[in-house]
Symmetry: C2
Subunit: 97 residues, 2 copies
């Protein structure tokens, strides 16, 4: 696996509402109705992250979840980060993948 | 509910291994074996936090969970923070409460 080029990252982010590039990471802050909704999101994402063997950095404060995705092995953004971001979007807004 | 005095906080922290005061918060960084263990801890703590109606600020990176407890209503550390910290200790090291 290798890091995506800047152009590749930009293209992928066009389809990822609210996600932004921040250095070698992509980041998004999710707002939920309450703590239980926030934890439910984290749990759903956690199962996928574990299966993908690619894990987020994330911070929770009550109804807010700040997510940061990066790939330490390459020091950049890889397809794993994009896949995990897409899955998170799917969790909050289910649709055909 | 009112904030605990500095002396009260110091006394409580004597029984809370690894917890430290940081301004108006108490903080601890937990290290687990892996991501699943870290998420399991967060889930167990989350049920208690929700029941207590008092929620942590916390950040997870793979096997690490950084916890910060404070009480926004009083702008200080209250008995709720101490109770939640004690419960977290109980989760990682079950004993008679």
């Amino acid at each position: 696996m290798s890091s995506l080029s800047d152009k590749q990252v930009d293209m992928q982010l066009e389809d990822l509402t609210g996600w932004q590039r921040d250095g070698n990471s992509i980041v998004k802050t999710y707002h939920f109705s309450n703590f239980v909704e926030a934890m439910s999101f984290m749990n759903q994402a956690a199962f996928y992250a574990e299966a993908l063997e690619h894990h987020p950095e994330w911070k929770n404060i009550y109804n807010i979840v700040e997510v940061r995705l990066t790939t330490n092995d390459t020091g950049g953004i890889t397809s794993h980060d994009i896949r995990l971001a897409k899955r998170m979007e799917h969790i909050i807004q289910p649709k055909r993948l």
